[in-house]
C-alpha cells in the first residue's frame, strides 16, 4: 500500500488559523485534511517518531512562533567574517532528504513546521539590526526556503525586507532549482543566493529528492545573469570513492556553467555534525554507508579526522584556486577541540 501524499494533512495550531499565510496554505492544499492542535509541539515533538517513515509522507504543521525568532549562528556554520551572525528558522525541516542532513538528528519529526507570523521575524530582525548596527542573517537554515517558495513566498519577503536596509546581509541557501520563483525581483547586493553543489554521484546517491547538479547550476547561472550575488557552497565535501576525481569534475562543471567573475564567493566545508545527532540518525537510517563512516569525535562534533579533513579541503581549495582568487574562497573548519 502506498503512503499518503506529502501534505495530505495540515495540522493547524490554535491561534494560527487567523493568519493569512495559514489560509493561503490551506487553499493551496485544498484536498488536505485539516487537523486542529492545541500546540504544534504536541505533533512535532512527540517521542517515538520514525523520521524516515515520516519523510515518505510529510505533513505540514502551521504554528505561531512565540519567542526567539533569531538564533545566533553555531560554530559549525560559517559566519563569513561577520560579528553579528544570526539565522532565522521560520520553517523547521526541508522537503529534501539528504543522508548527511543534521536535521534528522536535531528534530524528532520529519514533518514541516511553518511559523505563519512572519511579521514577528521581521520585527526581531529590525530590532537586532538596530542593536548591532549591522547583521548577517541566514534566512534559510534548518530548511530550504527557495524549494518551498511556490507554496509560501518567504524568500521574496526577506529580499524585500533587505532591499532598503544596506547594513543587513541575508543569505538564502538552497539546493533547489527554483530561481524562477523570484526571477521577477530586481536583484540587490545584500541578498546572497547560495547554491549547495555536490558531485553528481553524491546528489544521486545521498541527496534524495534534490534537483540534479545540472538543474542547480542552471538556476545559479540564471541568478548570476540577472545580477544577483551568488555564492556556491561545496558543503559538505565527502570522502566518497575517488573523491578527488569527483570534486575536480564538480568544480570544472561548475565553472563551465558559471563565470568565475560573476560569483560573490565560494565556500568549502567538510562533513561535520553534532555527535548526538549522528548517533540518532544512525539508528534511523541504517542503510547509509555515509553515516556509518568511522568519523572522529572532537568535543561534541564528529567529522573527518584532522588529516583527512585538511587533505580534502586543501584539494578542493586548490582546484578552486585555478578559477577564483584566494579572497573569494572561504574555507570553514570547525575549531579543533570545540565544545559546541
Amino acid at each position: 500500500m502506498p503512503h499518503t501524499t506529502n501534505f495530505s494533512h495540515i495540522y493547524v495550531e490554535k491561534g494560527a488559523g487567523e493568519y493569512p499565510d495559514t489560509q493561503q496554505i490551506c487553499r493551496r492544499f485544498s484536498q488536505a485534511q485539516v487537523v486542529a492542535v492545541d500546540d504544534y509541539k504536541h505533533m512535532f515533538n512527540r517521542p517515538n517518531q520514525r523520521f524516515q517513515a515520516q519523510k515518505r509522507s510529510m505533513k505540514l504543521i502551521l504554528a505561531v512562533k512565540k519567542e526567539q525568532f533569531l538564533y545566533p549562528g553555531s560554530g559549525r556554520a560559517p559566519d563569513f567574517g561577520h560579528d553579528a551572525f544570526y539565522y532565522s528558522a521560520q520553517m523547521f525541516n526541508c522537503v529534501y532528504n539528504c543522508d548527511y542532513c543534521y536535521l534528522q538528528g536535531k528534530y524528532a519529526s520529519a514533518n514541516l513546521v511553518i511559523f505563519v507570523n512572519h511579521e514577528d521575524y521581521i520585527a526581531a530582525a529590525d530590532e537586532r539590526l538596530a542593536a548591532a548596527g549591522g547583521l548577517y542573517l541566514g534566512v534559510s537554515y534548518d530548511t530550504d526556503l527557495l524549494a518551498f517558495e511556490n507554496v509560501l513566498p518567504l524568500c521574496r519577503r526577506w529580499i524585500e525586507f533587505a532591499r532598503p536596509r544596506s547594513n543587513l546581509l541575508i543569505e538564502i541557501r538552497t539546493k533547489s532549482a527554483n530561481f524562477d520563483a523570484i526571477a521577477d525581483l530586481d536583484p540587490i547586493p545584500n541578498a546572497v543566493l547560495a547554491w549547495t553543489l555536490s558531485p553528481a554521484v553524491v546528489s544521486g546517491q545521498y541527496e534524495s529528492r534534490t534537483p540534479p547538479l545540472a538543474a542547480r547550476l542552471a538556476a545559479a547561472r540564471e541568478a548570476v545573469a540577472a545580477g544577483w550575488p551568488v555564492r556556491v557552497c561545496f558543503d559538505p565535501v565527502l570522502r566518497i570513492e575517488n573523491w578527488r576525481e569527483r570534486y575536480a569534475e564538480l568544480i570544472d562543471s561548475t565553472f563551465a556553467a558559471l563565470s568565475p567573475s560573476g560569483l560573490f564567493d565560494c565556500y568549502i566545508g567538510s562533513f561535520r555534525m553534532n555527535a548526538d545527532y549522528l548517533k540518532r540518525i544512525r539508528c534511523q537510517r541504517q542503510g547509509s554507508d555515509l553515516l556509518h563512516f568511522p568519523y572522529t569525535r572532537q568535543g561534541k562534533t564528529v567529522g573527518y579526522a584532522d588529516d583527512q579533513e585538511a587533505e580534502m579541503l586543501a584539494f578542493v581549495g586548490q582546484c578552486l584556486s585555478t578559477y577564483l582568487p584566494a579572497d573569494k574562497i572561504i574555507v570553514h573548519r570547525v575549531p579543533p577541540g570545540n565544545n559546541l
Partner: protein, 277 residues
Amino acid sequence: MLYLVVALPCEAKPLTRQLGLVRDNDVANPASFAGDDGILVVSGVGKARAAAATAFMLARYGDRGPGVVANVGVCGATGNVHEIGQLLVINRIRDHGSDRLFLPDMLYRHSCPEAALTTCDQPVQSGQSTVGAGSVVDMEGAGFFEAAAMFVPADLIICLKVVSDFLDEDLKAARVTELMAAQAGPAVDILRGAAAAAHAPEPPLTPAEQEALSIAAEALRLSVTQRHMLQQLAVGYKLRTSQNLLPILEPCHTSDTIDKQARLARFDDLRRQLAPA
C-alpha cells in the same frame, strides 16, 4: 502482523473470523486470540481497560514480529456528517477527561473518511455538549493510544471506528456484530496495507554476521566502547562493499587463548580491514 485491541466480544467476533484467530487458552483475562498474522485482545469498556489490555498485548505478544497496533470498534457520531455503518480512520483523539490530545501519524493511504475522536469516561447521550459537532465519541481510543505509544512509534498506531449510532439508541450486541461484520474486511485491508508499507528495511548485517561479530568481540574481550566501534565499522564496511563479513570475523573467534597484547593487535588489524581506504 496486526495487533488489535477491541472493547467488546461482539466487536471482536467479526475480526477474529476475518483474521482466522483462535482463542489463546493460556490467557484467561483479557480474552486473547492469536493467529499467523494477528493478535486480538478484548479489553472491556473504558480507557483504563483499553490501556491495560494494550500494554498486556504488546508485552506478551509483541515479539511475534513487526506490524501495526490498532484499536477497532464502534463509535457514536454527533451531527449529520457521518452515516451509520461507515468506517472511519481517526486522525485525532482527545481525552475528554484530561483534555489531552493524541495524534496518530497519518502516513498510510486509505479510502475511508477521517474523523476526530473524543474519548469519554461515560456514555454520551444525544444533546450533551461534551463533544463538537462532526466528531465521533468512544470510551477507549485515548487509553489505547497512550499505552500503545509507549511501545511503538506513532505511525504504527491506528484507530478505526465504525459509526454505530447518533448517541440516541441503546445498541444490542447483535447489532454491533452486524455493523462490525460489514466493515471487518475493509478494516483488515487498511491495517494489512499499513503493516506492509510500514515495514522497516532489513538491518545491514545478516543474523550470521551479527552473531560472528558478537563472538569476535567476546573472544577479543572488547570493552563496550570497542564493541560499539567494531559494530559501526562492520556496518560501514558491509554498506560500502556488500561483502560477506564472515571471512574477516571468523579468524578472530579463537583469540581467547592469546595474551592481551596479541588480542589488541588483532583488534587493530580488524579495524584496519573494516575501515574505508
